[in-house]
Point group: C2
Chain length 279, copies 2
Amino acid sequence: MKIGILGLGLIGGSLGYDLRSLGHHVLGVSRRSSTCARAIALGSVDAASVDMSLLAAADVVFICTPIALIVPQFQQLITHLPVTTVITDVGSVKAPIVEAIAPLWSNFIGGHPMAGTTDSGIEAAQRDLFVGKPYVLTPDATTPKTAMTIVEEIVRSLGANLYYCQPEQHDRAVSLISHLPVIVSAALIATCMGETDSQVLQLAQNLASSGFRDTSRVGGGNPELGVMMAQYNRQALLNSLAQYRQNLDELTNLIVQSDWADLELKLQANGKARPKFVE
Amino acid sequence: MKIGILGLGLIGGSLGYDLRSLGHHVLGVSRRSSTCARAIALGSVDAASVDMSLLAAADVVFICTPIALIVPQFQQLITHLPVTTVITDVGSVKAPIVEAIAPLWSNFIGGHPMAGTTDSGIEAAQRDLFVGKPYVLTPDATTPKTAMTIVEEIVRSLGANLYYCQPEQHDRAVSLISHLPVIVSAALIATCMGETDSQVLQLAQNLASSGFRDTSRVGGGNPELGVMMAQYNRQALLNSLAQYRQNLDELTNLIVQSDWADLELKLQANGKARPKFVE
C-alpha cells in the first residue's frame, strides 16, 4: 500500500520505520526540506518532499503534525487528494479535530496512538514504538466501513492495542489519566518552590526523594506540551479538575477532623483501585 | 561501642547490620521473641531480648519502633537506663516526639533517616540502607555536646548525608516533599476511580500509562503509613494542603481564562525548580 505521512517528527518518523518494514511504500511530507532529507537518510520514508502534492498518490495519509497544525494542514492537504484517500490523524485530543475534519472528509477516522518519549523530532523516531501500546480510533456512524478496515489493519500491524470510542469519551479519559496528572503535579512543584522559610525550602530540596520525584515528574515536563493539552482539552480538563478539587477537599476534611479511620478506608480503596489502571 | 536498638524492623534491622560491620556490639529488643531469634540468626544483632533491661549496658539506644510507639516505649525504656545513656529515635515526624522526650531525657537527640523500601520488618532489613541518604538530626540548645558527637559520628559512619534543623522545620519540609505528595496523589486516584461513565472509566483504565503511574504511585501505597503521616504531622500537612489548594486554584484559573501565556510561564518555572529538589 502507498501510505503518506504528513509531519515527520517522533510519531510520523516512527510510523514510517514500521510501515516500510511491513512492506508499504511510505511518502513523507515535512515543512522543512532538511527534515525530508534526514527522514530519507534514516530510512523512515521512501520519498519525501515539502510539497503536499507528493501525497496525491497515497491510499492513506496519517497527519502527524503538532496538534495546533492538524486542522490547518488538513485543509491544505485535501486540495491535493482524490476523495477516495483515507485520512487519519494522531492528535492527543479528538473532539475538536473530529468536529472540524469529519464534515469535510467522509473517509476520515480520528486516531490517537498513546506512545511517546520525552524526546521529539525525526531523530527521536524509533522502530516498534507502538508495540503493546494503546491506539484509540474514534469512528462515527458515518465512517465508511472500507476506510475503517484499512486504518484498523494498519494499526493492528503495528502491534498496538486497538480501542474504539467516541471522541468525547476519549477526551474525558485522557483528561483524567494524562492531562489532570500534569496540573496536579505542577501544583505540587509550585507549592514546594513557594515555601517562604528559606531554611525549610533548602531542607525540602535536600530531603526530597522518590515520592517527590515520581509525583512531580509530569508537572516538571515540557511546558508547551502541557499548555497544548490544556488548550485543546480545556473543558474536559476543567471538569476533571473540579472533580479533583472535590476529592482533595474530602481528604483534607478527614485530616481536619482527625478522622483517621475514614482516611484509612479512602487510602485502602485507592490502593485497590490503582492496579486497575496500571500494573 | 555498645549500641542498643529498640524495634527490629526494616530500619532497626538495617542499622544492626551496618553497626556490627563497623565493629560495634549490637543489642536488640523486640516485642516478639520470634523477631529476636530471627535478628540473631540473620546477623543483624549480637544479642536480642524481649526484655528492655538488655539495653541497660548500651552507650547509645536507637528507638526504631513505629512512630506511635516511640514515646510509650521510651517511657518504659528509661526505667532501665542510667542517665548517661544517649537516646535517639528514627521517627519520620520530629516535633511531637522531641516535645515529649526532650524534657524527660537530657541525652536525647531526635533523628530521621530518610531511607526506606516498600517492604517492612526484619526480613526486609538490608546492609548499607543509609548510604548516600539524608539523615536529619534535630538537636536543641540544651543538647549536650558529647551526646551530639556520639550520634553524629555513628550517622556519618553509616555513609548517610547529615542535616541539622529544628524539629518544626523538619516537619514542614517533610510535609511538603513527602506527606503532601501522598494526599495529592491519593486525590488523583480517587478522582479517576470516581468517573461515572463506565465506558470512560474502562477506557481510562486501558489508556493509563507512565504519567498516571508515577503521579499515582505514593497515593496508592501503604494506607497505615499514609494515615500515620497525616496523624503525626497533621498541622504541617494541613498548612501544606492549604498552600497546594491555592496553587491548584491559580493553575485552574489560568485554564478557565484561557491564559496560555501565563500557564506556560508557570510550567516553565516548575521545570526549572524541580531539579533543585531531585535530579
